[in-house]
Amino acid sequence: MRVNVTVNGSAETVDDVWEGESLLYLLRERMGLPGSKNACEQGECGSCTVYLDDVPVCACLVAAGQAEGRRVRTVEGLAEGGRLDPVQEAFVEAGAVQCGFCTPGLVVQTHALIARDPDPSDADIREALAGNLCRCTGYEKILDAVRLAARRKATA
C-alpha cells in the first residue's frame, strides 16, 4: 500500500508498504529515520515514542496505515536550525544518557511533558515518564535532566 505522511515537517509518500508494518518499521526501515528505537515492539518500554499529530505515542503500536494523512514528529525532528532542543541539551549535560537506547523516547516524552506542564514536580515527572524504561541510569540523572530542561525552557 501507499502511505502519505508528514514527518518532521516534510510531506512524504512511501510505496510498497506491507499492511502489517508498524509506524515504527515505516520510520526506521523505509524512511531512514532509525532514531525511534525498537527495544520491545510491544508498547512496554517507550523507546519508540513519537508525536502523532501532537500526542506522544508508541510508534510500535501504531499501524503504518494509521499514520495516513497525519503529522509525525520524531526525535530527529526536535532540534531546530541545527540547535539542540533544551531537553536534548539537558539529557547530555546531566548525564542522563548512558547506552542511550531509551533516550530518544525519553527525550520526546519529556518534550511533551514540559510543553503541557512547564514546571513539573518530581512526582509529576515520575508519573509522566513511567512508561519509558531505562536499564542503565536508575533514573536519577534523568530526573536531573528533566528539571534542568524545564528551567532552561522557562528562562529561554
Binding site: 537506547f101 541510569t137 534523568i142
Partner: protein, 761 residues
C-alpha cells in the same frame, strides 16, 4: 623527562566530567545502534528455535521454506562451514542443533529473506519432527548425583569449587551462637534495551565484515572464525552502537548465524531479535540455592561458616566455571572468619542457559551472606551495622581464599558513614503516589510500615584465577589544523558506561592536549578484553595511559634533542621547561610527523584456586559497596515502595563523577529489580514470561531518590589508584532492600525476588 602532563582542571582531563562524545548523537537519534544498520540489497535473517527444553530432532524439512517467494536461504547444522560448536570457555554449544536440543529457544535453522515478515513466515514453513524428552530441571539433584542427570557430554557438573580454612567441626563445638538458613535467587535477565542485532557483509576476499553489538570483539572473532572455517583475519568486526549489555553480550548471539547467511547468499544480512527472542538469545544470571550455617561467639564475632551453593548454568558451559569460582571465593563476603567450609557447584540442566550478568556469582552469595549477618545480629542482640562492623575486613585481612587484602578496604568507616546518614522523612500519605502501589493503592495507608535494612557487598575487579588479563591501546599524536590532536584506538566495548569519555580524559591528561578523537572499536587493533568484571577503566584505562606515556616520552625526546633541555613536560599543547618555561609548542615539535605507539597493559598476575582447599591469590582487586535501604511496606496488601537508597562506595579515585554516579545509580537499580520484581519464571524448563509485559524491570516510579557518598582510598597497584565501580552496587542493594522489608514485616524472606505473597502469606 617524562613527568606527567597535566590537563588544566575543567579541560576534560582525569577527574573532570566532560560530556560524552557520543551524547549529542544519542539525543538526536543519529547514533547508529546495531539494529539501525541498513545497506542496499540487504536481506533479513531469522532463527528457528526449539520450543522444547529437551528434544531430539528426528527430521527437518526445509523445502517448503525455500519455496516461499522472497526467501534466499534456509540453513541447518549441515551448512555450518567449520566447527559445529562454539563457547566462551569451552566450545560445547552447537551453532545449530544437530541431533538434540538442550534448552527452550536453542537455534535449529536459519532463514534469509527480503522482508522480516517473509523470514518469520518461512520459519513457520520449516517442518521439524521432534521426539520430546524429559528435561533435567532440578539443579540440586544434578549436584547430588551428576551421572544420573547428564544433559551433555561434558556431564552434569560444570565445576565444583570447595574452600577449606581452619577446622570447622572444632569451631562448631566452640560456637556460642549458631544461625542458619536456606536462600534462593531466581533467574535475572540483563534486559538490555537494544536487542541482539547486527549486519554481516560478505567480502571480496571470501571473508566477512561484521557490525555487531558485543562486549568483547576479539573473543567473538576467536569463536566465529573456526565455525565459519575461516582464518581470524578474514573476520573484520566493528562495534556497532550497543544498547546496554550487563553481561548478556559476552556470549555470541547472532554473529555466526548472520555471517553464515551472508556468505551463503552473497548479500548483506541483518538480524535483529525482537524482545521475546532476546529472552532466548542470551544467557541470564544463574539461579542459586544456598544453605548457610554460621557460628559465632556471644558478642557476635564469627567463628565459622559452613556453606553450600548450587548454581544452575543450563545446558552449555558459557561462563559458569568462573561464576562458580566467584561464588566460592566471595561466598562469605567481606568478613573475617577463621574457619570456613564452602562447597560451590555449578551444574548443567535443561533450564535456560546462564552466564555473565553484572555481579557474576557474587550477587547470589551476597544475598545469602548478608541475610545471615542480619540473622546473626538478631541472635546476638546487635544492630545490623554493629555486627558487620565487628566482623569487617580491613587492609591486611585474609579473604576466605587466604588472599591477603593488600590495598585499602575501609568497610568499618563505610558502615559508620552510611549509619550516620539522616533518615528520609515519613511519606506524605495525603498523596497516594507516595504510598506502596502508588495510584493503584486502595487504602489510605493504614497498613503501611516503614523498614530499614543494610547490605554490604564485595566484588572482584578484572579477571581472576590466573587469567592473563590485558588490554591494548594505540595512540597517535599529530597536528591537525595547526593544533595537536590525539587519536585513541582500542577494541574495548562502549556499552553505555562511558569508556569513550574516560579514554579521552586520560589522553588529555597524559598528553596535555585538548583535542582527542576516539576511533571506532574494531579488531584492527589488539585485544582489549571484555567490558565486564568492572574492568575497563582499570585495564583499557591503563592501556591508554601507557600508550599515551610512550607517545609523550617520544615527544619529549624530540623536544629535548631540539632544545638541548632535559627538564621538559607538556601542558596545554606546549612543551615546558622547568627552568626556562615554555620552549616550543607541541605542533612545532611534531611538524608534519605523527607519533604513534601501541601498548598492552596487564594487571598483576593472579593464581588459580586450589581445587581442594580453594586457597589462592585469585583476585587482583576487590571493591566494596554499602547500601542502606528504607522501604514502606503495605503489610496487608504485600506492596513495597522503596523510599530511599543510600550508598557508600570506595572507588579509589573519581575519574569522572558524572559517569561514576550513573554507574552506582544504575547498578543499584538492577539490585532493586532482583530484590522485588525481576525473575524469569521457568517451569519444566519452559520460560513463562519472555516479554516486558511479564518480566518487569524497575520504572522511574519504582526507583527512589538515591544518596551517594563516594570515597577515594587509592589502590597503589591500579592506574590512578582507581577501583572498578560498575558491579559492587548491584551486589549490596538487593540484600539491603530485602532486609528493610524484613524489618517492616518480620517475615523471613529467604528468596528473591520478594513477591507480594511472600509478605502477606
Amino acid at each position: 623527562m617524562t613527568s606527567p602532563a597535566k590537563a588544566a582542571p575543567g579541560r576534560g582531563g582525569v577527574g573532570d566530567s566532560p560530556v560524552r562524545p557520543d551524547g549529542t548523537l544519542k539525543v538526536t537519534g543519529e547514533f547508529a545502534y546495531a539494529s539501525d544498520l541498513w545497506t542496499d540489497g540487504m536481506l533479513w535473517g531469522a532463527t528457528l528455535r526449539s520450543p522444547h527444553p529437551r528434544a531430539r530432532v528426528r527430521a527437518l524439512d526445509t523445502a517448503p521454506a525455500l519455496a516461499r517467494p522472497g526467501v534466499h536461504a534456509v540453513l541447518t547444522h549441515e551448512d555450518v562451514p567449520g566447527r559445529p560448536v562454539f563457547g566462551l570457555d569451552h566450545p560445547d554449544q552447537p551453532v545449530l542443533a544437530s541431533d538434540e536440543v538442550r534448552y527452550q529457544g536453542e537455534p535449529v535453522a536459519l532463514v534469509a529473506a527480503d522482508h522480516p515478515e517473509t523470514a518469520r513466515r518461512a520459519l513457520a514453513d520449516i517442518a521439524v519432527e521432534w521426539e520430546v524428552l524429559e528435561p533435567v530441571t532440578d539443579a540440586r539433584a544434578v549436584a547430588a548425583d551428576p551421572d544420573a542427570h547428564r544433559v551433555q557430554e561434558r556431564g552434569g557438573i560444570v565445576r565444583r569449587q570447595p574452600i577449606r580454612v581452619g577446622d570447622v567441626p572444632a569451631a562448631k563445638q566452640a560456637a556460642e551462637v549458631v544461625v542458619s538458613g536456606e536462600f534462593e535467587v531466581g533467574i535475572q535477565d540483563q534486559a538490555f534495551l537494544g536487542p541482539e542485532s547486527g549486519l554481516a557483509v560478505p567480502a571480496d576476499d571470501g571473508g566477512v565484515d561484521l557490525y555487531v553489538s558485543t562486549q568483547w570483539i576479539h573473543k567473538d572473532v576467536a569463536q566465529i572464525a573456526p565455525c565459519l572455517g575461516l582464518p581470524e583475519d578474514k573476520i573484520r568486526m566493528t562495534m556497532a552502537g550497543v544498547g546496554g549489555a550487563f553481561g548478556g553480550r559476552e556470549d555470541l548471539s547472532m554473529q555466526i548465524h548472520a555471517a553464515m547467511l551472508a556468505l551463503r547468499t552473497g548479500r548483506p544480512v541483518k538480524m535483529s531479535y525482537n524482545r521475546q527472542e532476546s529472552f532466548f538469545g542470551h544467557v541470564h544470571r544463574h539461579p542459586a540455592w544456598m544453605r548457610y550455617e554460621y557460628g559465632a561467639s556471644g558478642d557476635g564475632r564469627l567463628l565459622y561458616a559452613d556453606v553450600e551453593i548450587v548454581l544452575d548454568g543450563g545446558a552449555y558451559t558459557s561462563s559458569t566455571e568462573n561464576v562458580t569460582g566467584n561464588a566460592a571465593s566471595l561466598g562469605v563476603g567481606p568478613y573475617e572468619i577463621p574457619n570456613i567450609a564452602i562447597d560451590a557447584v555449578g551444574v548443567y540442566t535443561n533450564n535456560p542457559p546462564c552466564g555473565a550478568m553484572r555481579g557474576f556469582g557474587a550477587v547470589q552469595a551476597c544475598f545469602a551472606y548478608e541475610s545471615m549477618m542480619d540473622r546473626l545480629a538478631a541472635a546476638c542482640g546487635l544492630t545490623p551495622v554493629e555486627v558487620r562492623r565487628r566482623n569487617a575486613v580491613s587492609q591486611g585481612s585474609r579473604m576466605a581464599t587466604g588472599q591477603v587484602i593488600d590495598s585499602p578496604a575501609p568497610l568499618a568507616a563505610m558502615l559508620e558513614r552510611v549509619d550516620a546518614m539522616p533518615p528520609p522523612p515519613a511519606a506524605d500519605a495525603s498523596d497516594l503516589r507516595n504510598l506502596p502501589g502508588g495510584v493503584a493503592q486502595t487504602t489510605h495507608g493504614e497498613g503501611v510500615v516503614r523498614g530499614v535494612g543494610y547490605g554490604v557487598g564485595i566484588k572482584n575487579i578484572c579477571f581472576s584465577e590466573g587469567f592473563d588479563d590485558y588490554s591494548t591501546a594505540r595512540v597517535r599524536l599529530e597536528v591537525i589544523g595547526g593544533e595537536p590532536a590525539a587519536l585513541v584506538h582500542t577494541a574495548a566495548a562502549e556499552v553505555g558506561q562511558g569508556l569513550v569519555t574516560l579514554k579521552a580524559q586520560i589522553a588529555r591528561t597524559e598528553l596535555g592536549v585538548d583535542r582527542v578523537t576516539i576511533a571506532p572499536a574494531d579488531n584492527a587493533v589488539g585485544d582489549a578484553g571484555s567490558s565486564s568484571a568492572s574492568r575497563q577503566s582499570y585495564m583499557t584505562g591503563g592501556a591508554v595511559k601507557a600508550a599515551c606515556e610512550a607517545v609523550r616520552a617520544e615527544l619529549l625526546a624530540r623536544a629535548a634533542r631540539r632544545t638541548g633541555r632535559d627538564d621538559l613536560s607538556v601542558s596545554g599543547g606546549v612543551v615546558v621547561s622547568r627552568a626556562a618555561g615554555a620552549v616550543a609548542s607541541v605542533a612545532e615539535i611534531l611538524g608534519d610527523d605523527a607519533i604513534e605507539e601501541t601498548r598492552e597493559y596487564h594487571h598483576r598476575r593472579t593464581t588459580a584456586l586450589d581445587p581442594v582447599t580453594g586457597q589462592g591469590d585469585s583476585h587482583t582487586q576487590l571493591a566494596l559497596c554499602v547500601h542502606r535501604a528504607v522501604v514502606d511496606v503495605d503489610v496487608e496488601l504485600g506492596l513495597v515502595k522503596v523510599v530511599e537508597l543510600a550508598a557508600v562506595q570506595d572507588v579509589g579515585k573519581i575519574m569522572n563523577r558524572l559517569s561514576l554516579e550513573g554507574q552506582i545509580h544504575g547498578g543499584t537499580a538492577q539490585g532493586l529489580g532482583l530484590a522485588v520484581m525481576e525473575e524469569i519464571v521457568v517451569s519444566g524448563g519452559v520460560v513463562r514470561n519472555p516479554s516486558f509485559t511479564d518480566y518487569l524491570i524497575p520504572t522511574i516510579l519504582d526507583m527512589p531518590p538515591m544518596r551517594l557518598d563516594i570515597l577515594e582510598y587509592p589502590d597503589p597497584n591500579a592506574p590512578y589508584g582507581l577501583r572498578g565501580a560498575g558491579e559492587p552496587p548491584t551486589l549490596s542493594s538487593t540484600p539491603a532492600i530485602v532486609a528493610a522489608i524484613r524489618d517492616a514485616t518480620g517475615k523471613a524472606l529467604t528468596r528473591v525476588p520478594v513477591r507480594p505473597e511472600h509478605i502477606v502469606g
